[in-house]
C-alpha cells in the first residue's frame, strides 16, 4: 500500500447505549442471564436462582440454545435450582424459601461451586439474600450475585459474577510469574467460548505461560482459587471484562492488558504473542521459532484455498453483524490477510459509550485499504435487517437471525455470533493461528465449487 492514501472519517451510527427504550430482539439476556452463563460455563458450577420459576427455563431457550444450540448440562436450563417465587412470597418475603433451596441443593447436588443469583423479584421485595447466603459459607463454596434483570444485560451480569467472586470469595495469593487469567469471553454469549479459551490456553502453553481460563475446565474450585495468583489478567475484548480486570487490579494488584478481540489468524496471533512477550518474560528464541513455524504451516495450508478465494470471491465485499470482540477480529482478518473489502460492520452488544471510539479505531486502523466501512452500533434486529438491504456485500458473517432472509440480501452466510440456533458449536472456533483457516473453511462449507 502507498503511504499517501487518504482516509475518510468512518461513517459511524450508534444506538442508544445502556437500556434503550424499545428494541426488537436484542442479542443478549439480562444481568441474571450473564451471571447464569458464567456459572454454567464453569464445569461444576451451579446457579441457584432466587427468582420466579421461569428465569432458568428462559436461559435454556435463550442463553443455551442461542449460544450455539448447546444443552445446558447437569446444572442449567430446567435443572437449575430455583426458589420459584410466587405472589405469597412477594407479600411475605422469599427468604425462608431461599434458605431451604440452598440447604437442599447442597444436600442433593453433585456440583462443586454454588452461585446464588438474585433476580428481579427479591430485589423488589427486599429479601436480605446476603445474610442468608452467609449462613452457608462454612458448608460449601458459595457466593451471591445480586443480578436483577433490570440492572443490566448479560455482559453486565458477567462482570457482576466476577465482582461477587472477588469481594466475597477470593483470597490474596502469592503471585506466580507465568500464570495469567483470561477475561472478556462470556460463555454462551460469545458462541465459540469453549474452543476460543482452549485455543488461547494451548497457544500460551507453547511459550511457557499457564492460562487460567476458568470456563469449560474441570477442577473448578481450584481454578477459581488461583485467580489472585495470576501475574496478569489478559482481557480479550474491547470492553467486556474491563470492569472485572480493574477490580482485580484494585483488590489483588493484578495488572491487566487488553486486546480488541480474540486473536484470529496469523497476523493478529503473532501480534498478540509479541505483546504478551513485552510484559511476561518469554524466551525470545523460542517465541521466534514458534511464530516462524506456525506462520509457515498455516500460510502453506491456506494456500490450498488460494484458487477458490481468487476465483470465487476476489476482493469481495463482506458484511459483519456481531458482538464487538468477534466483529473486530473477523473484519481485520479478512481485510488484513485475505484482500476482502469490509462494507458494513454492525456491532450488536451495545457497548458503553466510552469504549466505542476504541472499537471503531480497532476496526479502521488497518493499512490495507484506503476506505472505511460503515460501522454501526445497533442492537435492534428490525433496524439491522433494514441496514443490510441494498449493499454490495456478498458474504455475511452474522448471527442466525440474519440467516432467515438471505434471499433478500443475495448473500452467503456464516453464523459467527449470538444467537446461533442454526449452528451447533462444540469446540469449533477461529482463535489463534488456525483461526483464519477455520473461518475460510466455514465460508465455503458446502458451497465451494466446482470452479
Amino acid at each position: 500500500m502507498t503511504e499517501n492514501k487518504t482516509k475518510k472519517e468512518p461513517n459511524v451510527l450508534t444506538d442508544e447505549p445502556g437500556s434503550p427504550k424499545i428494541v426488537e430482539a436484542p442479542r443478549y439476556g439480562c444481568a441474571l442471564s450473564g451471571a447464569y452463563e458464567a456459572t454454567v460455563g464453569l464445569y461444576g458450577g451451579i446457579p441457584l436462582l432466587h427468582s420466579g420459576s421461569g428465569c432458568g427455563m428462559s436461559q435454556l431457550f435463550g442463553a443455551n440454545y442461542g449460544g450455539g444450540q448447546n444443552a445446558p448440562g447437569d446444572y442449567g436450563g430446567s435443572s437449575t435450582p430455583c426458589s420459584c417465587l410466587v405472589e405469597e412470597h412477594v407479600i411475605f418475603g422469599g427468604e425462608d424459601k431461599l434458605r431451604k433451596l440452598i440447604d437442599s441443593t447442597i444436600q442433593i447436588s453433585t456440583a462443586e461451586f454454588f452461585v446464588v443469583i438474585s433476580g428481579c423479584v427479591p430485589s423488589l421485595i427486599g429479601d436480605d439474600v446476603d445474610n442468608i447466603v452467609s449462613e452457608f459459607k462454612d458448608k460449601a463454596p458459595i457466593i451471591h450475585v445480586n443480578a436483577p434483570g433490570f440492572k443490566g444485560n448479560s455482559f453486565d451480569g458477567y462482570e457482576l459474577f466476577f465482582e461477587a467472586l472477588a469481594t466475597q470469595y477470593l483470597k490474596p495469593k502469592r503471585k506466580r510469574k507465568r500464570l495469567v487469567n483470561i477475561l472478556g469471553i462470556v460463555p454462551f454469549q460469545h458462541i465459540f467460548w469453549k474452543g476460543e479459551l482452549r485455543s488461547i490456553k494451548e497457544l500460551l502453553a507453547k511459550v511457557g505461560i499457564e492460562a487460567n481460563v476458568l470456563f469449560g475446565e474441570f477442577d473448578t474450585v481450584e481454578k477459581i482459587d488461583k485467580i489472585p495468583a495470576a501475574a496478569y489478567n489478559i482481557v480479550l475484548s474491547p470492553w467486556v471484562g474491563h470492569k472485572t480486570a480493574k477490580l482485580l487490579e484494585e483488590k489483588f494488584k493484578t495488572h491487566f492488558i487488553s486486546f480488541p478481540g480474540v486473536p484470529l489468524g496469523p497476523i493478529q496471533t503473532t501480534k498478540f504473542l509479541r505483546k504478551i512477550a513485552e510484559i511476561i518474560d518469554i524466551n525470545q528464541d523460542k517465541l521466534n521459532d514458534l511464530i516462524t513455524s506456525e506462520e509457515r504451516r498455516v500460510y502453506r495450508q491456506l494456500e490450498f484455498a488460494g484458487d477458490i478465494l481468487q476465483f470465487d470471491v476476489p476482493n469481495v465485499y463482506f458484511g459483519v453483524v456481531a458482538d464487538s470482540n468477534t466483529a473486530v477480529s473477523v473484519t481485520r482478518y479478512l481485510t488484513d490477510e485475505v484482500g476482502q473489502l469490509p462494507d458494513i460492520v454492525i456491532i450488536t452488544d451495545n457497548p458503553p459509550e466510552e469504549f466505542r471510539k476504541d472499537i471503531v479505531e480497532a476496526i479502521t486502523s488497518t493499512d490495507e485499504i484506503a476506505f472505511t466501512p460503515d460501522i454501526i452500533f445497533e442492537n435492534d434486529s428490525f433496524l439491522i435487517k433494514n441496514l443490510l438491504q441494498n449493499r454490495p456485500f456478498l458474504n455475511l458473517y452474522a448471527s442466525s437471525l440474519e440467516s432467515t432472509y438471505l434471499d433478500e440480501l443475495g448473500s452467503t452466510h456464516v453464523t459467527i455470533s449470538f444467537p446461533s440456533f442454526n449452528r451447533l458449536v462444540l469446540g469449533g472456533n477461529y482463535a489463534g493461528y488456525d483461526g483464519g483457516l477455520n473461518l475460510i473453511e466455514s465460508l465455503f462449507y458446502d458451497k465451494a465449487g466446482p470452479l
Binding site: V121, F150, L401
Partner: protein, 534 residues
C-alpha cells in the same frame, strides 16, 4: 392381524359410551368473565396441582373429594413460568401482529428463535413465502422500576404501531410490571383510540401462579376479550383447532387432510396464524382439542360467549382416539355419514401398518422387555397426553406402568377414570419439569423406553431405550408426526427405533456425571423434598 383390528373396533365401541364432557356446568362457567382484565389462576379455577406421586386411582380419589394439594418443594427447579415456557417462545410467531414484552430484557431472550421456528419449513408444505415476525422489549431498567414505566409502554406501543403497522399488538406482562403495579389497562385505554392496531394485554406475570398452564388461560383471555369478534355469520365447515408447540407441522398437515376429506376447513391458532384467524374463532362450528389442558379456557369461553360447541376428549392420538375425535367433529358439523366412510377408508390404509408395528413390538418384547413380554414405556407430558397416550400405547401392544404429567386438575377427571378402567391402574407422577424427580422416577421405574424432552435434565442418561416425547413444530419431517392416522404410524416407528440402539444414552451414563448424589437417587421417594400435607 384381523384379531388386532377387532380390538380397535371393540375399544371404539366402548369409546362411544363415554360421557364426553361437552356440556358446561355452572361451576365451569363462572370462571370465564371477560369483563375482568384476566383469567383466574388454575389453582383457583380447577384446583390445579403440580406435585403428586402415587397410583392413578389415588389421584382420581383426591380429585373427586376436592383433596388435590399444590404444595411447595424444599428443592425446586426452574420448570418455567406463565410467560417463560410457552408464551415467550411462540406468541411472537403470530403473523401480521407484534409482541411487546413489557419487562427487563431477559424476559424475552427465549423469543430469539422467532424467525427460525417456522422459517425452515418448505413453502411446498404450506409455509407462506413472505412473512415478517416482530417482537420488541421495553427493556425496563432500574429507573423504570423506581419511577414507573407507564410512559415507556406508551412509547413502545406508539413506536410498534408506527414501525410495523401490525393488526394486533400483544402486550406480555412480567413479574416486574406486576410487582411495581403497572396499570397496563389504563395505558391501553389511553392509546387505543390513536392507533389502528388492536391492543391485547396478556397478564402472564410469572409470580401469579405456581401452575404455568395459567399462562395459556391468560393468553386466551386476552384473545377473547380483545380480538375475537361477534360472529357475522356461522361458518358451518370451520373447525377451530388450538395447537401448541409440541404438535408439529406434519400434525397440521394430517389434520387438514382428514378434515378436508369430509369438506371441513381448519382454523389453526395461535402459532403462526394470522390475526384474522383469531377474529373468526366465534364463527366456527366446533372447537376441537389437540391438547385439552391448553385449549380448555378457549373452548369454554367460545361456548359461553358465542355458543361454539366444544369437546375436550379425546385428542387425535392413536387410531381409536382419532376415530372418536373425527366423530365428535362430525357430530357438530353434520358430517356423521361422511365421517364413517372416511374412517373406514383410513383404517384400510393405516391399520395394517399399525398391526405390523404391533407385531414388531411383540417380537422385541420377547427379546428385550424386562418382563420378557411387553415393552414398558414411561411417557406423557401434559395431562392431555396422559389421557390420550396410554390408550394409544395399548394399541401398539406396549404398556405404561408409570406416567408423568406436568400438571393435573379437575378438568380431565372423567377422562382419566376411563383410561384407568380401560388399561388398569398405574403410577402417576405430576410435576412441572422437575428434572431431579424425573431422573429419580426414570431410574426407579426403569422402563424399557423412557420418553424425554429437553426439560428433564439428565433423566436421559441410562442403560435403556430413550427417545423424545415429541418434536417441536419447526420439524416438518414426516417422521415427527404424532397426530391422526399417519401420526399413529409415524410415532410407532419412532418408538420402535428407540429400542434398536441405546449406545448414546448408555455411553453418557457411563462416561459423564449426573447432577444428583447417589443417596437421593437410591432412596425410594421421588417427592423426597415435597412439603407434604401442607
Amino acid at each position: 392381524m384381523q384379531c388386532n383390528y377387532e380390538l380397535f373396533i371393540r375399544n371404539g365401541e366402548k369409546m362411544t359410551n363415554i360421557n364426553v364432557n361437552n356440556e358446561l356446568t355452572e361451576d365451569d362457567d363462572k370462571f370465564v368473565d371477560l369483563s375482568k382484565n384476566t383469567c383466574p389462576t388454575r389453582e383457583q379455577r380447577a384446583n390445579g396441582i403440580n406435585v403428586f406421586f402415587g397410583k392413578a386411582t389415588e389421584l382420581l380419589e383426591h380429585a373427586k373429594t376436592g383433596d388435590l394439594k399444590c404444595t411447595d418443594r424444599k428443592f425446586s427447579q426452574s420448570g418455567g413460568c406463565l410467560l417463560n415456557f410457552y408464551l415467550s417462545v411462540r406468541i411472537g410467531t403470530i403473523r401480521n401482529a407484534a409482541v411487546i414484552f413489557n419487562g427487563p430484557v431477559g424476559c424475552s431472550t427465549s423469543a430469539l428463535g422467532y424467525r427460525e421456528v417456522f422459517g425452515h419449513i418448505p413453502v411446498e408444505l404450506g409455509r407462506p413465502e413472505n412473512y415478517e415476525l416482530k417482537w420488541v422489549t421495553t427493556n425496563l431498567n432500574s429507573d423504570d422500576v423506581v419511577f414507573g414505566a407507564k410512559e415507556k409502554l406508551r412509547e413502545a406501543i406508539l413506536k410498534t404501531d408506527a414501525r410495523y403497522s401490525p393488526e394486533a399488538i400483544f402486550i406480555l406482562t412480567t413479574c416486574v410490571t406486576g410487582i411495581i403495579g403497572e396499570d397496563i389497562e389504563s395505558v391501553v385505554r389511553e392509546v387505543q383510540g390513536d392507533i389502528k392496531s388492536i391492543l391485547v394485554p396478556i397478564h402472564c406475570e410469572g409470580v401469579r401462579s405456581r401452575i404455568m398452564q395459567t399462562g395459556y388461560d391468560a393468553f386466551w383471555h386476552g384473545v377473547l376479550k380483545y380480538l375475537v369478534q361477534e360472529p357475522k355469520e356461522k361458518q358451518e365447515d370451520l373447525v377451530n383447532v388450538a395447537s401448541m408447540l409440541s404438535y408439529t407441522w406434519q400434525d397440521r398437515i394430517e389434520i387438514k387432510r382428514l378434515l378436508g376429506k369430509i369438506g371441513l376447513r381448519v382454523n389453526f391458532v395461535p402459532e403462526f396464524s394470522t390475526v384474522e384467524q383469531f377474529k373468526q374463532l366465534g364463527e366456527a362450528a366446533v372447537t376441537a382439542p389437540i391438547c385439552p389442558t391448553y385449549t380448555d379456557y378457549l373452548s369454554r369461553s367460545l361456548k359461553k360467549e358465542y355458543d361454539v360447541p366444544f369437546f375436550l376428549y379425546p385428542s387425535p392420538i392413536g387410531i381409536k382416539n382419532t376415530d372418536e375425535w373425527l366423530r365428535q367433529i362430525a357430530k357438530y358439523t353434520g358430517k356423521e355419514e361422511e365421517v364413517e366412510i372416511l374412517i373406514e377408508e383410513e383404517h384400510k390404509k393405516w391399520v395394517p401398518k399399525l398391526n405390523e408395528i404391533r407385531e414388531e413390538f411383540k417380537k422385541l418384547g420377547k427379546l428385550i422387555a424386562k418382563d420378557g413380554k411387553t415393552i414398558d414405556v414411561l411417557g406423557s407430558l401434559g395431562q392431555g397426553r396422559l389421557v390420550t397416550q396410554l390408550p394409544y400405547f395399548d394399541e401398539l401392544g406396549i404398556k405404561s406402568t408409570a406416567a408423568m404429567a406436568q400438571d393435573f386438575d379437575t378438568l380431565l377427571v372423567e377422562e382419566l377414570e376411563d383410561v384407568v378402567n380401560t388399561i388398569g391402574d398405574f403410577d402417576v407422577m405430576v410435576n412441572t419439569f422437575q428434572a431431579a424427580e424425573q431422573t429419580h422416577i426414570a431410574k426407579h421405574e426403569n422402563p424399557d423406553i423412557t420418553l424425554t424432552c429437553p426439560f428433564q435434565g439428565g433423566a436421559w442418561k441410562r442403560d435403556g431405550g430413550v427417545t423424545r416425547i415429541h418434536a417441536m413444530r419447526g420439524d416438518a419431517l414426516p417422521w415427527s408426526a404424532q397426530s391422526g392416522y399417519s401420526g399413529a404410524i409415524a410415532f410407532g416407528h419412532f418408538l420402535l427405533q428407540s429400542i434398536q440402539n441405546i449406545s448414546f444414552q448408555k455411553t453418557f451414563a457411563e462416561k459423564t456425571t449426573t447432577g444428583y448424589k447417589d443417596w437421593f437417587l437410591e432412596q425410594p421417594d421421588p417427592l423426597y423434598y415435597a412439603e407434604k400435607g401442607k
